[in-house]
Symmetry: C2
Subunit: 270 residues, 2 copies
Amino acid sequence: MKTNSQPIGIFDSGLGGLTVIKEIIHLLPHEDLIYLGDTARVPYGEKCPETVIKYALQNAKFLTNKKVKCVVIACNTAAAFSLEKLNESLSLSCLGVIEPGAEAAVKATRSGKIGIIGTTGTIESNAYVKAIKRLNQSIEVFCQACPLFVPLVEEAWHVHPITHQIAEIYLRFCFEKSIDTLILGCTHYPLLKKIISDILGPEIFLIDSAITLAEKLAGLLIKEGLLNSQSLQGKHTFFVTDMPKKFYNLGKLFLKENVFPVEHIDITNY
Amino acid sequence: MKTNSQPIGIFDSGLGGLTVIKEIIHLLPHEDLIYLGDTARVPYGEKCPETVIKYALQNAKFLTNKKVKCVVIACNTAAAFSLEKLNESLSLSCLGVIEPGAEAAVKATRSGKIGIIGTTGTIESNAYVKAIKRLNQSIEVFCQACPLFVPLVEEAWHVHPITHQIAEIYLRFCFEKSIDTLILGCTHYPLLKKIISDILGPEIFLIDSAITLAEKLAGLLIKEGLLNSQSLQGKHTFFVTDMPKKFYNLGKLFLKENVFPVEHIDITNY
């Protein structure tokens, strides 16, 4: 039996999901949140579907043991590969970043040409393309894997001139294919928004999957009668599977507030 | 009881160790080799010591089950954190990349100023610094973590102008500190040798840990009477814990020959 006072569970392969947490806190300030960053096995973006599904199931198990009322997959690769599996095996609602981003892009496009950038795993999964085609078969979709973006953000080079040059190379396809809407298909990419919008200009609309996911989550909680009715600011608890130090240091960059408390757990027991 | 016809076991966090295999094949062509790339949990470079030691023990267990005559830790981070632990718990010789590299650098330096580049994990472990200081207390050592080098090599940008620019930033300390010897403290870095030596010029001597390790291994096998006496080319077998596809594609870049056959195994059972 689920009650509205239970926390929301969110998992990600590492730090990136903190951009999702940030938008959830912004939209749903009274919710208690439990975040799990699987930093011992990050990144998921270059791993094969079977491995990612196995990791996602362990992460979800950890969160359901913490009595969450729903599970958010904040990692694009994990959402791409494991949402269906998780919805089959969990007895609560499970939400990924892919569908909300795809819906927002389909609503936003005028030309019917959408671009997607993400990790190799997310792009090769074709999950965004399938989600967009389910909504509108006639939309043209163009994809580009950007494997250097995550390490650049984690080096805190998110506004560095070299990152600008690399982004120019990765984003060339946006002009060549005349897209008018670009999905930032990785939770690290909102930190590159300034560089990306400087390169693409005002004509290309950026879809931030973190924002669209938070909106979808709010809708789900309202529909299921599970909005937390407390008037206090919600409690936020963080778990990681490795190296809380880096999580602390970079966490603030992603979340715009201190990531605290962080507890180190062993995920292989789940 | 060890015999000279047993294979040599080599493990790495992923692909990088293939540069080590390349040098071992070059120096010891008649040896049978078993390589394990822990691609499901790569990279080790940003993970904490406890996690890396746990992974290293599992990898070594897999290799000893394959009846290897010695174990080579081709990953700098794994060698930095786990060599001592592995030597304690295995009943055969275990060799890491750190000590041979440190010895070669101490022999090479004239000015007594050595530089080290590596992943965050390797640099923070201080393993090279300790190994050098054990050999010669008076040598000055200067370190620089280069977290973007691995993803740049894996994007196959090892001769890209942007990689040159990034290397110029990372290597600035070499001139500021007037070093005359630089240890390439990561198995991916031999692929960046061209760019690194273009930037540093002929005055700074580069130590390639893969080459120094292969030489040390040859010495060990001779000393222990374990050199394979077959006149044929040795057999090379590859195991990975995830995604053989990327391993195939990038393997040739590292090894300069086809990586074949590759078998996908589950390491968590070890």
